[in-house]
């Protein structure tokens, strides 16, 4: 049997998910120039939110998605006002270590509250699948892809055509000039941070019915997001989409065609990070790296 269509479809579905996963980080970096190391923990919180919604209240993750996204936005807003805003003009090292510390704290609050045990949100469609021709399509992955696509398209449309979205892009380009346009830069900062956290929470909700849920799930996803964002070029949403496709396709191909590929695939993100930063630090579509 020819594997290629299967590989292709798997990679495509994964790419959609990866785009949603990385786009929050990309937005946050583009506007604030800060890599939020707590972004992975937002994914984890989203997954737990969906899990508890399903387990305790019997609400399907897809239904609880809007509520959790709003909650994620609010949490992001609070984290920004409480912590991140204070280091906006501080040296890089303070920004990195602050969000790193936040990530550590959030992760371990989750361990304290919910223990380190792995859980999974078993929805009706979690294990369903169907053959389309020779290609096996897992419903949960298809649903995840659809949600991710809708959210990413909505984000891009919002940035492109709404007043606030346009203002957000303007702040990312030149914050002083944006202030001269009457844009409240602080508000845009808090909002972008909120939106970026909300997107990560959405990612968490979506993966809740695909992956096992643990307090530790965020970190590897953060690293992959960083790889994608760097690959596409820091601060470019279009680049992020491309980066997500590159990572998803290379991981899928490696896991199908290389012996022990599933394990090696986990290392591709790191290889890409190092490779890109050394060979082409601007990424595919991004701006110059400050050296």
């Amino acid at each position: 049997m020819d594997l290629l269509p299967q590989v292709f479809s798997d990679a495509l579905l994964l790419a959609g998910l990866y785009t949603l996963m990385a786009v929050g980080l990309s937005l946050g970096f583009g506007v604030l120039r800060i890599i939020n190391f707590a972004q992975g923990e937002m994914i984890m919180l989203g997954a737990y939110g969906a899990f508890w919604g399903l387990t305790l209240l019997g609400v399907d993750p897809i239904i609880s998605l809007p509520v959790l996204v709003v909650a994620g936005f609010a949490l992001g807003w609070l984290i920004f006002r409480g912590f991140v805003a204070k280091v906006l003009d501080a040296p890089h090292i303070n920004q990195i270590l602050l969000t790193f510390g936040l990530a550590l704290a959030i992760q371990h609050i989750a361990i304290i509250l919910w223990s380190g045990n792995a859980r999974s949100a078993t929805t009706a469609y979690a294990t369903e699948s169907a053959f389309v021709g020779d290609v096996l399509v897992v419903y949960s992955r298809l649903i995840a892809f659809a949600i991710a696509t809708i959210m990413v398209v909505a984000l891009i449309a919002w940035l492109r055509w709404s007043e606030t979205g346009r203002a957000t892009r303007a702040v990312a380009e030149n914050r002083a000039a944006a202030a001269l346009m009457g844009i409240d830069v602080d508000r845009i900062y808090a909002m972008s941070f909120g939106v970026s956290c909300a997107l990560s929470v959405a990612t968490g909700v979506v993966v809740s019915f695909i992956l096992t849920i643990t307090p530790f799930m965020g970190f590897p996803m953060l690293i992959k997001s960083i790889a994608i964002v760097i690959l596409g070029g820091l601060g470019s949403i279009a680049g992020t989409v491309i980066g997500a496709f590159v990572l998803a396709f290379s991981e899928t191909f490696v896991s199908y065609y290389v012996p022990d590929g599933a394990g090696w695939a986990e290392g591709i993100a790191f290889l890409l990070i190092i490779g890109i930063l050394i060979l082409r630090p601007r990424g595919i579509l991004g701006q110059t790296v400050e050296t």
């Binding site: 990195i96 790193f100 510390g101 936040l102 550590l104 959030i106 960083i226 790191f270 930063l277």
Partner: protein
Amino acid sequence: MNTRTFGLLLGAVVLIVILSIPVFGSPSAVDITFRTCSLIALAVSWNLMASAGLISLGHSAFFGLGGYVVILSANLLGMPFWISLIASLAAGALFGSGLALITGRLRGIYFAITTLAASEGLRVIAVMLPALTGGAKGAFLDAKYYPGTFTVNMGMSLAAAVTCLIAWRMSQSRIHYAFRAMRANEGAAQMLGIYPLKFRCAIMAVSGAVASLVGGIEAFHGGYLDPAIAFDLHITITSQIAPILGGIYTLSGPIIGAVATVFIGDATRLSLGHIEGVSLLVFGLILVFSILYLPQGIRGGLSDLWRRRSATAEPTKMAKP
């Protein structure tokens, strides 16, 4: 007594304490000293890179590398304790300078991410090469190469002592101007006659060698290594928390911070240890609050207090005839 002699005296006392406890101390004192020395060396090593503007989020890379080098050179090549440690030292230095070479002029966040990726990359490699490393199941150190508790503990104390001495020598020489220049602006440093790439290679070689050596000694201490232990993010976290908490870019800061970190870690373990995850939660909060409210660390906080006290004490002294 001025602060300089006070510092020297304090340094001497610390050296004597950490070197004599493996000889005379009770088992629990020896254990605490071992862990403190391990963290002192890691913290000083992390601070060394940070002082040159190189933020490492991948100190566990060096640590894990050193551990695996020790296990492999003992198990496969039958090297004795000291020789294996020298091998791990060399491996750390090579890896550090190699990383410096390939990262070139990357700075700030980009450099930090690269180190993080390097560490995670090594972890994946360790998992995926079971023939060499035992894979995810891990590898035991062959018991016949275990050099005895005293040697291991003394080794760690020596490692910490030598690391501190190196850092002290650097702070005494003109090199510390080079550090400050590198941290502020590499381009300007170049104009001062510092060749940034060479400087970075040298710093990362020293820093990497120290962290790798610590990993090597820890591997002897534990007698077992798997990728999750070797490349544990926890190592990176504690080696950055200690200098931040104690006082970054200073000589005594990382040492004070390491002692404080071990103390806080033990205190939370003893008081709240029944709650899983609480000690790292505390570390996370310490990191956040030190960055926001104690940017100069404990050391800076203390010297502020000292200055304020002597400022208020001064006028009364003057008033006396």
